[in-house]
Amino acid sequence: MTSSQKTESFFWAKTYVHLAAGLVISSIFLLLVMIFIFAGPALFDQGHRSIFTWQWNPYQGQFGILPMLMGSMILSVSALLLALPLAISLCSLLLTAPRRLSARLIHMVIRFMTAIPTVVYAFAGVLLLTPLVRFSFGGSGLSWLTATFVLVLLILPTMVLVLNSGLKPKLDDLCPQGLAMGLDRLDLLWFFVFPHTKKTFLAAGLLGFGRAVGDTLIPLMLAGNAPQVPMDLGQSLRTLSAHMALVTANEVGGAAYSSLFMAGALLLGISALVSLISRALVTS
């Protein structure tokens, strides 16, 4: 093989890499453009003004998706509020007892949890959790509460892993010296690591929120899907994602159909915002 031949083969390799990048970028671009083009009519068409209202009742010509937006927000926020402290204390356990069997077991379980498909969570939730919630709180069992619980399980492993990878290097840095002074790992974590890793917490939180807001099957199968703003944890709610799964059942082009795209665009907007903020946080 001569030198020029070698350069030639690398030329192709290099071209391939650039083509691949181009392909990926253009498909992302296409995706964004298409969603927003189809959401456009919903935004600008006078006839579809009612999309940003609080009533969803297609038979009455009411196509408000604000209850779904609310539903998405309160469901993800409540899941997050529950998951974050759990994630922090689980992660602390992993970090402070790194060689204890229990910690290893938990680490393994967390890994395993990342592999559980959301549809399996939802399936088991319907069969296990709904009767329990119905029994203790009354109602249908399909509610804000039920969906929140299962969502917590869904987003927990990601959050723990993000926290772990963010906090571990910092703790490891402090460990030998800190331990040599007679402090234990939790002291180090609490007094020296936590005060300096607000960004890691925020990043983990945002990531969890993003996953919670985007998930479809769990709210669809567990939240009851009533297009209302729930007044208590036992009531049913509908998220944007579940709304999208339910409303594909409409003729193409109608107001309900464009509300579908509006919901898609909103979801995409929320998740874009979340990922941009967390990116800005991580890089700054």
Partner: protein, 254 residues
Amino acid sequence: TTLKDFQGQKGTVNIAGGTAHIPVMKAAARSIMSAEPDIRITVTGGGSGVGVQQVGEGLVDIGNTGRALKESEIEKYGLQSFPFAIDGVAVAIHPANPVSGLTQEQLIKIFTGEITRWQDLGGPDAPITLYVREDGSGTRETFEERGLNKAVPSTNSNVSNSNGAMKTMIAQDKNAIGYVGIGHLDSSIKALPVDGMQPTQENAQNGSYIITRLLYMNTKGEPQGLVRLFIDYIYSKDGQGFIAAAGYIPKSKD
């Protein structure tokens, strides 16, 4: 039409839509595909709305609806309807619930959220949980049109997206009230007479039970080839057997 007519045929028929139709469609597909392995028939649900939308857009060959097509839908897509069975929509509650009948007025008040407790209806001291079907469902449209006289149900109701899901939820929830196609009734739920009308297929057929609807297959334009054969097969003797087995009353082709 019999299975013989499918001999030597090959190709695909895609079917989607109303969930009440699924048992019939599956049974027909199964019998055809077992006889002729070269034919593929795919069946899925989604609800009547999906049926209209997908057949209209040409994504499936047959779109099922549990309600008559709207004028606008026929116009927009040029659809053709083939009603093949009669089904009633029955109000259903948990079998342990002692309530044994409702008036239509009560029914409307329940679903619009005016009556919220079972004791107002002579039942136990418990709140009522409402279950409805998703928008676009034929069952829902029939029920609201005939059963509720077009009253708008409360937004507070849980939404299930198939007849099966509805049945499961009611069977599990002591305080539930909802509605399913009569074909889906079994011992796990209790059907309630409305204004004294007993929800049975016979009454639906003879008109003494008024919350009824037809089950339709819809095609875009005149059906051709394999699709035509399939529709004819549903109307055939075999097809009528499947319809009856699913709990509906077969309706002959007019």
